[in-house]
Amino acid sequence: MNAPGIQSALHPATGSGAALISELTAALFVGGAVLFLLVMGLLVRAVFSQEKRVDARRWVLWGGVVLPVAVLTVLLLYALAVGGALADVNSRGPLRFVLDCISSGARALAAPFGTERPVRIEVTGKQWWWEVRYWGPGTGVTGVPLANELRLPAGQPVELLLESADVIHSFWVPALAGKVDMIPGRVNRLVLRASAPGVHRGQCAEYCGGQHALMALYVVVVPEPEFRAWLQQQARPATAPADPFLALGRDSFMRGECAECHTIRGTSARGARGPDLTHVGSRLSLAAGVLGNHEGTMAGWIAGAQDLKHGNHMPSTREFTGVELRALSAWLSSLE
């Protein structure tokens, strides 16, 4: 069960792009309300005023030119500042961005995209899950392939490269940032940042087929040292189980059809169609946010994938005995 506000743009994470958007929204709402009241006041005055004539020239000059120019100038600068900060939340604050724009013109707008991030994450939308690949120090030439969950270091901006392998999806974690489409043949960028540890939920925000509603992911923000340890752990291959019951689970996986679609690094399983399961036990959810993650839900998903998420590429497996199913679930859950 999810905590309230875990997937809400109205509860933005502190220090995130969503917090800036939320402030902008509040400013627009309050400003709009003030203008509305002002116009209504003028209307009332026009109806009930005893004055025969007004100085139209003066009204047009102040109310029609000076006021809008002043308001729109402030609003434009503010929106530009928020836009700039969204593209590059960390290194420059909104005010600095405006000053940069004034002093160097268009170059400042292009600058955010020139900087290399220490950690980059490739997220590929697929029907109906998220393939994730981490690039950074110690992740090697292939990156670290993961699925359906992101971990971010608190206080550090992380660059996401958003792609799609099939149809158009949209990456949206409301508490962290606005939505960005994932378009086949294109790479869209998004900088995510949150200053405090926490768990946020995201959802595909562009209809992408029958199970679009069951395409979610979790974003876990952890302190930086913990993040580094986690990434190192995720980069490692799976270790062979010592326990005979877990070994039975591994053998069932390798003997069955699982390995045709799934990779478990450190074993002979090399399938590329489904999510990498090397550390599946460490994730918060199964099947892209459909289920929590423990031995019971694992067993249910393996045997009932079509029942739980109809039309996805994983069959409801019928090839395991009860004991094998339990062993398989226990082994996969142990892969942390």
């Binding site: 069960m1 929590g292 019971g296 839900t297 249910g300 009932g304």
Partner: protein, 112 residues
């Protein structure tokens, strides 16, 4: 005793009592652990599938797992560790405490 005799007299089935079990807490535990990943359970929000038997009309079921008498003590023991009672079952032990198992049993026996 008198109440149960009266109930039998009317042809109704008296719900088995689970000492210490709280049905409302049981429902919350079922939702948290997502027992619906394998079972259809009336009144519980969230996922549901048909991997294991549906648990509707649970109070009327005479047998558990096709072989054990459906009584509160047996059910609680089953929920805590199914493979211990039936080694070839597909249902794993999901780490329920005895209290949690009692709560869940109380909820299931509420399903007429």
């Amino acid at each position: 005793m008198a109440a149960s005799i009266a109930a039998v007299g009317c042809g109704a089935v008296d719900p088995p009592r689970v000492p210490g079990g709280n049905a409302e807490r049981g429902r919350a535990t079922i939702e948290r652990l997502e027992c619906g990943a394998c079972h259809v359970i009336p009144g519980v929000r969230g996922v549901r599938s048909h991997v294991g038997p549906p648990l509707d009309h649970f109070r009327q079921r005479a047998y558990l797992a096709g072989r054990f008498a459906n009584t509160p003590e047996v059910l609680v023991r089953w929920l805590v560790d199914p493979p211990r009672m039936k080694p070839d079952t597909a249902m794993p032990a999901v780490g329920l405490t005895e209290t949690e198992a009692r709560d869940i049993a109380a909820y299931l026996y509420g399903l007429e």
